[in-house]
């Protein structure tokens, strides 16, 4: 391969990468996040994502949720219009120390992902009984 060819190949591959990035910009799933005495629960709308195409990773500091849309589409289909223009979801959250990320539980039902992260047992609020006398 001479220099000219090498440059051309380089240009076309960088152009391909750029297009890929533009097309594959991930969707940010809308989320509800709430906290009760036991821990934090998240619910995220991720339509089109099955259990097999979902990844929930929690370490000490971060929770990363990723999913891929898989919908059976007939061959040769052209989009007449599309409000969902990506097949990937991604969202991440920072966790705090009182949460026990190792005990994170996740399940998906009809395209809604629920993630529960319990608080460390020793850090859960305790109700203090007040006795009279």
């Amino acid at each position: 391969m001479n220099d000219k060819q090498a440059t051309a190949a380089h240009q076309s591959s960088s152009a391909a990468q750029r297009t890929e990035r533009e097309v594959d910009y991930p969707l940010v799933p809308p989320a509800d996040v709430f906290e009760d005495a036991d821990g934090i629960t998240l619910r995220l709308d991720m339509p089109g994502v099955s259990k097999e195409r979902l990844s929930v990773k929690a370490d000490k500091n971060t929770l990363v949720i990723e999913g891929e849309v898989q919908i059976a589409m007939p061959q040769g289909m052209e989009a007449l219009y599309a409000e969902i223009q990506s097949t990937r979801y991604r969202r991440s959250f920072t966790l705090s120390g009182e949460l026990d990320a190792e005990k994170t539980v996740a399940n998906v039902n009809n395209g809604v992902l629920s993630v529960s992260i319990p608080k460390r047992a020793e850090l859960r609020p305790r109700k203090i009984e007040v006795t009279a006398g």
Binding site: D32, F34, M77, A79, Y81, I84, G111
Partner: protein, 146 residues
């Protein structure tokens, strides 16, 4: 203490407003939009795809019961309505409530040549897929050149 975070959230609100403003002036994309399509953020987001023989409508409506959708056809207009209720956990403190709640209604303009008698709908992983057939006569004919 939370001053910075509040500003950050406001910044996104501001960006969203700007984005909506831009949508109003220029339309949301250079891609063709349906005449009854609505602005960004409307629930459920909808895609429409066509093949030579079929039209497929995908509504990204998670967390619903398949039986709760009302689907009807009026000429070449497809109407889908329903409601999504998100029960509130009274004992919890909410930090984010971004998910759509309430009644929704979408109208999709379909190509003129669909057969209103042959409609199928299925709901899987939170996506409602409505499949319609195009009429035979509408298929492109190959024209021979002599």
């Amino acid at each position: 203490m939370f001053g910075d975070m509040t500003t950050f959230e406001n910044l996104f609100d501001e960006l969203r407003r700007m984005e909506q403003g831009i949508d109003q002036i220029f339309g949301r994309s250079t891609r063709p939009a349906g005449i009854r399509s609505v602005s960004r953020g409307t629930f459920p987001p909808t895609n429409v795809g066509v093949t030579e023989n079929e039209v497929h409508v995908y509504l990204f409506a998670p967390g619903l019961d398949a039986k709760s959708f009302n689907i009807s056809m009026q000429q070449n207009l497809l109407l889908v309505s329903g409601a999504r209720e998100l029960p509130i956990n009274q004992k919890a403190t909410y930090f984010r409530q971004e998910r759509f709640e309430g009644e929704f209604r979408r109208v999709v303009t379909l190509p003129e040549d669909i057969d209103p008698e042959r409609v199928e709908a299925k709901y899987r992983d939170g996506v409602l897929q409505i499949s319609l057939r195009r009429q035979e006569t509408a298929k492109p004919r190959q024209i021979q050149i002599n």
